[in-house]
Each structure stands twice: as structure tokens, then as C-alpha cells.
Amino acid sequence: MIEVKNLYKEFDGTPVLKGISTTFEKGKTSMIIGQSGSGKTVFLKCLLGLHKHEKGSIIFDGRDYEDLKDKEHRQLRQEMGMVFQGGALYDSLTIEENVMFPLKMFTNNSFEDMLERVNTVLKRVNLENVNSKFPAELSGGMQKRVAIARAIVMNPKYLFCDEPNSGLDPNTATVIDNLIQEITKEYQMITIINSHDMNSVMEIGEKIVFLKNGVKAWEGTNKEIFKTENEAIVDFVYSSNLFKKVREVYLNETK
């Protein structure tokens, strides 16, 4: 479990996260949502250790990030996988080298073993015969799948995704969503997704944390989001007529 307690972060005296507390559980897909500038990315980067927080604590399965020594920090980071918004694949490396990179860096496995693992995870994300291609030769959706393959190649305990669907067509976005949810269950990971995409939120958000102006304004599940009367989340999620209608239909059906 990841426990976030009273997380506070500021930039040049301007508070961005104002005391956020929440928990993320194993085998569940959790989503962080909120308007641009609400602090989602900063929150995710604090969890990843890319931003140092001023107050509060982040506890990974009983290990407080702040209390860890350098070696333990490195160990913890090896238990994390991250899918970046743009994929963040290394342009100069082939797909095989990209996915193999964490294995090369942190294991002493033979090349054959590493290759076998790479092929397994590439197959898991439904990519085959792309080993020798470079990232620029793949479509956006394929690049995202490679990024997921790289993130899970070390069997991480924690998977973080920053806007995994941005720039993808609705079909590909659904494929990526389902893939993330499937591997979360399969590998029993704690998956935290930062997203704007309400389709994804409704589809796979087993836990949703809504941030507004740096504070947690609401949290619940994708079922509860239909029923909530919380003004902040209703204004955000049901700002489009389509989602208003979806909500009406859902509420009528469940009456």
C-alpha cells in the first residue's frame, strides 16, 4: 500500500499541494484527476521522488521515502515503473534495447535471459516483430505500449502513468486503458494514473482522487462518481453534455 499523509509542496513560496492525504492499494487502478494546474503532475512527481516535498510523508509498504538511505532509495526506485506522457523512450536505442535497458542496468542476467524477458513483456503488450525498430518508426499507440513494456519489465510493485492516453485515438486509448488494468491485476501492482480523460476514469478508475487548487476535493470509485453530489467533482466531470446524459441514464437505471 502507498500511504500519502498530509503532503505539502511549494514552488518559490507558492503552495501547489496543500496537505493531501490518501492511500493507494495493491491490484487496483487509481486515478488522479483535476483541472490543469490543480497539482496532479506535481503530486505524481512527489510520489516518484522527482520533486522533494516540504511537509508530510509518503510511505511505500511501510517504508517512509524520507527515512530511506541511498541504497534503499535505489532499491525502492527499482520497484517503480513509470509510463511518461510522451513515452520517454530513448530515441537512439531500438525497441529491444529500450525495454532491456532496466534489466541491463540492474540485473546480471545473461543476454539470452534478458531477451526472453523482453520478448515476454512485448508480447504481453501485444507488440511483436518490433525489436529492431526505433521509437520514431512506431505509431503513438505502439510507443505507449513499448513504454508500458519497459515499465513492467522489472516486475515493479508500483506503476505510475502520466496521461497515458494523451494524443491517442479513442480506440487505442481504450486498448491502453484495458492493458494497464489487466497488467495491474496480473502483476498485483499499485497503479496510479494521472489523467484528464474522463472515459478512462469511468472505465478503469477503481479509485479516483480529485484535486482542486492543490487540495483533495473528493475521492471515491468510478461507480460513486455517478452518484456524488460534491459540487467540485460534478462541475469538473459533468461539464460536457455527453457525460451529463451518461450520468442521467446511469442514475435512472440504478434507481
Binding site: G49, H73, R77, M82, F84, L89, S92, K104, F106
Partner: protein, 246 residues
């Protein structure tokens, strides 16, 4: 940010760079890649420029030495001294600052804005050590060789330029380049080159690594990297010359 802050941040960066590589096999792989990118791929431009610079130095010396009292072998002597002392180590380093410096800052800068560096950090990799140390080692190892090659080609270029245009005789030139050869000057040039190689690898890395924004900022960082690398090379050239020859 003021200059003092930049200098401080640069030295803090170096502290991170000079740590033990996390995996030697990966470091070795990166090192060979950098030797190719920073060194071997600069061979062409260095060969071309040094050959013609040597030619120009020889021609200009020959055209300015028209007094019958000044022996013609001084053309070869002057070309050799100019190439060894200044043109090969300093002029070529400025050329490399432009070519390699812009490559380093733009490649690292692009990695920064496309979150590739964040991806390294998230994995628990010391990104500065992983990206910059192989560049420094590759430059320190390869640039002295490049500069020695530039010295040789410059002198050869001078020979061909003069002999083909009949400005001087081959024997005079060869006698001139053998005259009063001081091996310390080559040592001086190699020491300068090692210092410049370090500057060429680290200043553009600093500008690329700490870039913020998008492609426009990467372009700006690249320009700044070349400008500052050149400025630092010129300043260090002055101080090193004072220290080593003064």
C-alpha cells in the same frame, strides 16, 4: 540566475558526474558510443580544416617573408610552430566546441524536455553520471589524438600549399619543420587540449541538462553552450599559456 549561481550549479553537477558508474558494462557501452559520436565523427571536419589552415598559414608566411635576408626555411618553421602551439589545440577546440558542443547540449536538452532524463531518474539511475561521464572520458581520451592529427595534417597542408604554388622549395620547408623542434611544445598543446576537452564535454552538458521548456529553449541552450564553451576556452588558453610558457 546570475553567473555565480551558474558556476556553483556547474560544480554541483560535476560532483554528481564523478561518481562510480552503476554498471560498468553499460558504462563501457556508452563510452564506445561517445567515442564514435564525439570523436570519430569529428575526424572529417578536423582533417579538412587543419589541412587547409596549415596551407593558409604557410602561404601567408611565404607572402610576408619576401626579404632575401630571411631564409625560406622559416616558412616551414613558422607553420610548424603555429600549428603546434595555437592552431591545432585552440583553433580546433573552438571548432569542436561548435560541432560537438551543440550536439551535446541539444541531445541532452532534448532528453530533458521529452522526459527521458526523468525516466532515468525514476529508475534510480544517476542520470548525470550515466550521460555526462562517458562524454568526458571519451573527449579526454580522443581529443588529444585528434589534435595531434591536426598538427600533422596542418604541417602537411602547408607543405602542399607552398610546393604546389611554387612559393618555396620542398627542401626548405622540410628543413624548417625539423629546425629547433621542442617536444615540450607538443606536451603544452596536449595539456591545453585535455583542459579544453573537459570544457567541451561539460559546459554543453550543463546547458542541456538544466534546460527548461521546449524545443525553442533547447535551441537557445545549444547556442549558449557554444558561446560559453568558446569564451571559457579562450580565457583558459590565455591562463594556460601564461602558466606553461610564460
Amino acid at each position: 540566475m546570475n553567473y555565480i549561481e551558474h558556476i556553483g550549479k556547474y560544480f554541483i553537477m560535476l560532483k554528481q558526474v564523478f561518481k562510480k558508474p552503476q554498471k560498468w558494462s553499460v558504462f563501457k557501452e556508452m563510452l564506445f558510443r561517445e567515442v564514435e559520436d564525439l570523436g570519430l565523427k569529428s575526424l572529417g571536419i578536423i582533417t579538412f580544416i587543419s589541412f587547409f589552415v596549415g596551407g593558409v598559414v604557410a602561404i601567408q608566411t611565404a607572402l610576408n617573408v619576401d626579404s632575401p635576408f630571411i631564409p625560406k626555411y622559416l616558412i616551414g618553421f613558422a607553420t610548424k610552430r603555429s600549428m603546434i602551439l595555437e592552431f591545432a589545440p585552440t583553433f580546433m577546440s573552438i571548432i569542436l566546441a561548435g560541432k560537438v558542443g551543440s550536439y551535446i547540449s541539444s541531445s541532452i536538452g532534448t532528453m530533458r524536455v521529452t522526459e527521458q532524463i526523468d525516466a532515468l531518474d525514476v529508475m534510480g539511475i544517476n542520470s548525470l553520471n550515466y550521460l555526462v561521464l562517458p562524454k568526458i572520458i571519451a573527449a579526454l581520451f580522443f581529443y588529444p589524438l585528434l589534435i595531434l592529427l591536426a598538427m600533422f595534417l596542418g604541417i602537411v597542408g602547408g607543405y602542399f600549399a607552398g610546393v604546389l604554388t611554387a612559393l618555396f622549395f620542398s627542401e626548405d620547408y622540410i628543413y624548417g619543420i625539423q629546425l629547433d623542434f621542442n617536444p615540450y611544445f607538443v606536451k603544452y598543446a596536449v595539456i591545453k587540449t585535455l583542459v579544453f576537452a573537459f570544457v567541451i564535454a561539460t559546459i554543453p552538458s550543463y546547458h542541456g541538462y538544466y534546460v527548461k521548456g521546449g524545443s525553442l529553449e533547447v535551441g537557445r541552450a545549444s547556442t549558449q553552450a557554444v558561446v560559453w564553451t568558446s569564451v571559457v576556452i579562450i580565457l583558459l588558453n590565455y591562463f594556460l599559456t601564461q602558466m606553461l610558457l610564460g
